[in-house]
Amino acid sequence: MSILIENISKHFGQFQALSPLSLDINEGEMIGLLGPSGSGKTTLLRIIAGLEGTDTGRIKFGDRDVTNLHVRDRRVGFVFQNYALFRHMTVADNVAFGLEVLPRKERPSPTEIKTRVMHLLEMVQLEHLANRFPSQLSGGQKQRIALARALATQPEVLLLDEPFGALDAKVRKELRRWLRGLHDELGFTSVFVTHDQEEALELSDRVVVMSNGHIEQIDQPGALYASPNSRFVFDFLGNANVFDGKVENGKWHNQQANIVLPEGAEQKDGQLYIRSHEFFVSREPTAQANLPLRVIAINPIGAEVRLELTPIDWQSNDVWEIDLPHKAFDKNCFEKGQTLYVTPKAGYFFANDAQKPTLLSWEK
């Protein structure tokens, strides 16, 4: 079922949790709401579910206007951050709940409920735990049961609040893949909230990046990564180093450091965002850039080696991070405390007076 969100806003007391925002979600789509704490992503999810009211605007599920519909009549599946399993009920009773509270006319017979529950438990591969209590389950198991419970009434919309937040890394990866598979198989529309960019990029058809109660960008994961359209998205998606420069004689200067403007760049002051793998590293400055840095840490991470660096004789708010393939690292044999020079290959430039970046490249 498609979800149409129009001009929704919400405040709690003095706090504006959501500025008016709109969002179209297509039938069968999986949407990730990504943002930091307080960005309003959970509030938006709860408004879609009907757990919070909205101050303005309206929400439609398909053709049905559900803005003033009570949560219990919206028939959405909702998976809570801490699962919210009923502690005094067995796993089977938890899953059966949604069926047992159906109005008498719609309620399946007790044996039918039993079969449906067992089927759901098989689907989440936990049929052997039917008679356990939630306190006897691991986090990953609870998560699966919460999903089975939410899916019992066959909702067409599934909402998940930080579904994998409380799990350890390995279980999280496994469950992610499993959820995606389930989504594709059953064809419901899913919206989930996360603060983990990797999770959002991996799982979603489209990612909605939020900050301070409004939507920063909506895009497919690839597009989002390739062309972040604001400083916030750039910062939040991470791994970008920022060079704050003033234009002079065709170069951006920051104290002793400088970078030559590539072709097509505006002659303006601003910030250059460069991703951690978009660099050459050398022992001497190059014709294109003079960015001296000192190595303060060397961390091998998977296929790459990450260097942490601090600027020498120029200013940057954060530690710089540069990822090198092992080969390049081994060739240079960098050590802690050493000085080295980096040269950007490509980057995104935000002029001081602009909201949107321009893509720059030094390579021909």
């Binding site: 709690f12 706090f15 949790a17 943002g35 930091p36 704490s37 307080g38 960005s39 992503k41 959970t42 509030t43 709860r46 009907g50 757990l51 919070e52 009211g53 949560v71 951050q81 609040d161 930080e162 937040g165 409380a166 909230v193 603060h195």
Partner: protein
């Protein structure tokens, strides 16, 4: 995790919040509370003044009444410190250490709650009365505990001994022992540890425990009436005096004495409300600080 924090205090949809249900439930509750609790409370004072203010004050300054007030205060003054020390010791032992029989100890502590005060009085009478195995020996030494003030203090200690511990144990359990362990690592001695780390944390619960112990000590009736012997002007505590006056058809005088006890009860409630208000406020301030830090 923290992303839901901004909204978690704002759950708007909860069961039973429709205005009709809410109004009905509050209404019934207030009505029942008025009938069961408020009106009786008012009646105490109304009855006390039924024969006028002069009569009220005259009956209070009667010699027997004054003596009963004095005895009651002495009993409370002796009982409270004893139970304070015991309560703190017991709470410390059961919340800071694991040892076999810990649960049994906590159950034993609850006995005075469960036992009828008359039975409590009888237990002491049988043991320390002139026929009891300790009492007969004491009798030979010319020591009389029962039907005298020491007996009253003893049964009062029995009846009120769980109150301090009961206030402290849940709180100390919840706070855990990390703070104290940190202090030990920093080299604090036992007494420093208690005074500077534990006490500030349990201060208000301790005060409430003391107040409650005091209220019960002042008001104990059943156990005291068994061991006191009801000697007017000698072993009559204020609650016993209330009974005597009431049965002597001096209702107004009885209610005058009762009004003093009721005032102690009201003071107890007031202090409790104040303590709770303070705790709630300090929790709120802390939560607010935390919110500001995370934002």
């Amino acid at each position: 995790m923290s992303s839901s924090k901004s909204s978690s205090g704002q759950h708007q949809l909860r069961v039973g919040d429709s205005p009709l249900v809410k109004g009905l439930l509050i209404g019934i509750t207030l009505l029942l509370t008025a009938i069961l609790l408020v009106v009786p409370l008012i009646a105490i004072f109304q009855q006390a003044f039924v024969e006028g203010a002069a009569h009220y004050f005259n009956s209070l300054v009667e010699a027997d009444t004054l003596h009963a007030i004095g005895l009651t205060l002495v009993v409370a003054a002796l009982t409270v410190p004893i139970n304070l020390v015991f309560g703190v010791m017991l709470a410390w032992a059961v919340t800071r250490f694991e040892f076999p029989g810990r649960k049994i100890l906590m159950t034993l502590m609850d006995i005075p709650f469960a036992v009828s005060p008359v039975v409590a009085g009888l237990l002491y009478l049988l043991l320390y009365g002139n026929n009891g195995w300790i009492g007969s020996w004491l009798y030979d030494q010319d020591i009389q505990l029962m039907f005298a003030w020491p007996g009253i203090v003893m049964v009062t200690v029995f009846v009120t001994c769980p109150f301090v511990a009961r206030e402290l144990i849940p709180l100390m359990q919840q706070q855990g022992r990390e703070d104290e362990e940190a202090a030990v690592i920093l080299g604090a001695s036992g007494w420093q540890l208690f005074r500077r780390v534990t006490l500030p944390n349990i201060k208000w619960a301790l005060i409430y425990g003391v107040i409650l112990t005091n209220a019960r000590a002042v008001g104990e009736f059943g156990a005291v009436s068994v061991v006191s012997g009801n000697i007017r002007g000698e072993t009559n505590t204020l609650p016993l005096h209330v009974q005597l006056q009431y049965e002597d058809y001096q209702a107004a005088a009885a209610f005058a004495s009762a009004s003093l006890l009721a005032m102690i009860a009201l003071l107890t409630l007031l202090l409790k409300a104040f303590i709770e208000w303070r705790q709630e406020r300090s929790l709120k301030i802390e939560a607010e600080k935390e919110r500001q830090v995370t934002q």
